[in-house]
Symmetry: C2
Subunit: 332 residues, 2 copies
Amino acid sequence: MTVHELATKLNLSSTTVSRVLNGKSKRYRISAKTEQLVMETAKAYNFRPSHLARSLRLQQTHTVGLVIPDVSNPFFASLAKRLEVELRREGKFMMLCDTLASTSLEEETLKILFSRQIDGLIIAPSGGETQHLVELPEIPIVMIDRYFPEMEFDFVSSDNYRGGLLATEYLIKKGHPRIVCIQGTKDTMPNKERVRGYKQALENAGIRFEPGLLLGNEFSIDNGHSAFNELANMEQKPTAIFSLGNPITMGVLKAAGELKISIPNDISLISFDEQPYFDITSPPITTISQQIDEMGTRAVELLMNKMNSRPTTQANFIDPVLIERDSVLDVR
Amino acid sequence: MTVHELATKLNLSSTTVSRVLNGKSKRYRISAKTEQLVMETAKAYNFRPSHLARSLRLQQTHTVGLVIPDVSNPFFASLAKRLEVELRREGKFMMLCDTLASTSLEEETLKILFSRQIDGLIIAPSGGETQHLVELPEIPIVMIDRYFPEMEFDFVSSDNYRGGLLATEYLIKKGHPRIVCIQGTKDTMPNKERVRGYKQALENAGIRFEPGLLLGNEFSIDNGHSAFNELANMEQKPTAIFSLGNPITMGVLKAAGELKISIPNDISLISFDEQPYFDITSPPITTISQQIDEMGTRAVELLMNKMNSRPTTQANFIDPVLIERDSVLDVR
DNA sequence: ATGAAAGCGCTAACAC
DNA sequence: GTGTTAGCGCTTTCAT
């Protein structure tokens, strides 16, 4: 059923029908009779205008792309959910794309999204490469979680440096000078910043940073698992672990279970990324919690401002919060 | 940059350019020279054809809609991920929509998807209502997880009845005659079938079903939490819990922790839905695992068959598997 | 108060 | 081997 068919049925022109359907009856002084007739008939035939044709004509799609590395990481799942709710409220439709943490798939995904004429884009780039991002068409873009300070994209992110600092200071305060840091994907900004916070906290406390205590290379369960095995074999055992992401923490807990190494009695643990299950694990996990809902709200706010050519601020940091549980032993 | 502009630049017609770009040079005997020229120029100008215009013309979008109640439920997140991978392999683009477990939002979402001309649909309906599903346009549709046997949609689902049977038989075998069942959304098929399995297992063992032992009404953490509190106050305490979904289980564990009730020493627990964190909780959870990857693969296979008018089977059940851990005490 | 006609960017039927 | 033209379904300018 098309506008034209509807019009023919009513002995009207498609122009008139279109106007009524778009709520422009008043502006074009269409008679109440006609208006009512059109509305009723449209409803009766369950008429749905073609979004495709409409978008082609109007050159806008009311669609925002969301590109994230991994929906099955609950951090991104929660973020996606929040963004969807906020965008829906703004009348935008969200297209969610998972890039499997691959830059080449990310590039392909972006091409697809742009050929579909998205009006705006929210993206958490999967790696440290930016080449495919510089030559993007000029539409409003907001980066979330991951970002590149040297590129002029606006972004919303946790203050990861502060999170790294907070976590490490906490461990030191509890009497742990020898701390292993298990990192995620090395060239991502959150990872770099968390590590920077870790190093800074060490330095502030007069502890020399040991490169051998910085393990890992991916935000994954496997990485946490193998890094834990690695540290379990160290000659001089560390007394605490700072895990830089929730999948890593899960890997650590699995490996510790397998090796019958007790957390926190044998080794303490603090994690990044609050998760719903962190208070039912054995032991409940002390963690640096990112304010996911606020990140989502701010990102959409930022994007809407850009889409409506209102002024924005480029860098938007949100403070993470320490949640104290039972995975860190006080050894002072 | 449009096909026409490209053609003008090359002193060619848009037809020729379109043909080359769509790999039909051979069929239309376009000269190698022209072909190469077109390809190079397209690449030089970073030309991306408008998917909108293409879809409008071709009346197909190579897009499949996926509608699920809740991405932040890891069961659906994993399923979505698997489906995306499989659909990508088939050259389809997946549009993921979360309906926040609301039937009215589901209805709205479907309208949006259809006005965007999806070529196929995979859906896990959020509730028991079907009114909005009967009047859908006639495109290939596959239901997943949730389904309605009386409607003629093809579907892929775990054999939830068997799962319910398996779990309950296991508890009975371990010496638990008095089993509380905490259910999820009552009018969904998975829930009904799991409960049916629970009842059947009781009957097989000669145990009378007690309505008072069937608690809960939602696949949520809160529901698990409040149902546990309820059962903790029962006069005649049950010795085991059968939780019908992973969020429910999480709620149960939280509540048990708060009340200092030990699982499995004070009460045993078996859950539906294997989750990555089930072996790091205290205690590790015995569970009925759904074969998510296989469900995803089968659903896409089914959909592709329908989209290519190949024959399909309407009902596709996948056997769940019991994973034995430490949350059930043997009291024989 | 309503309509005719053009055009968004693409592809295909039908020329030559 | 390549081009002309029409049309997918919609909105809008310009007319009446």
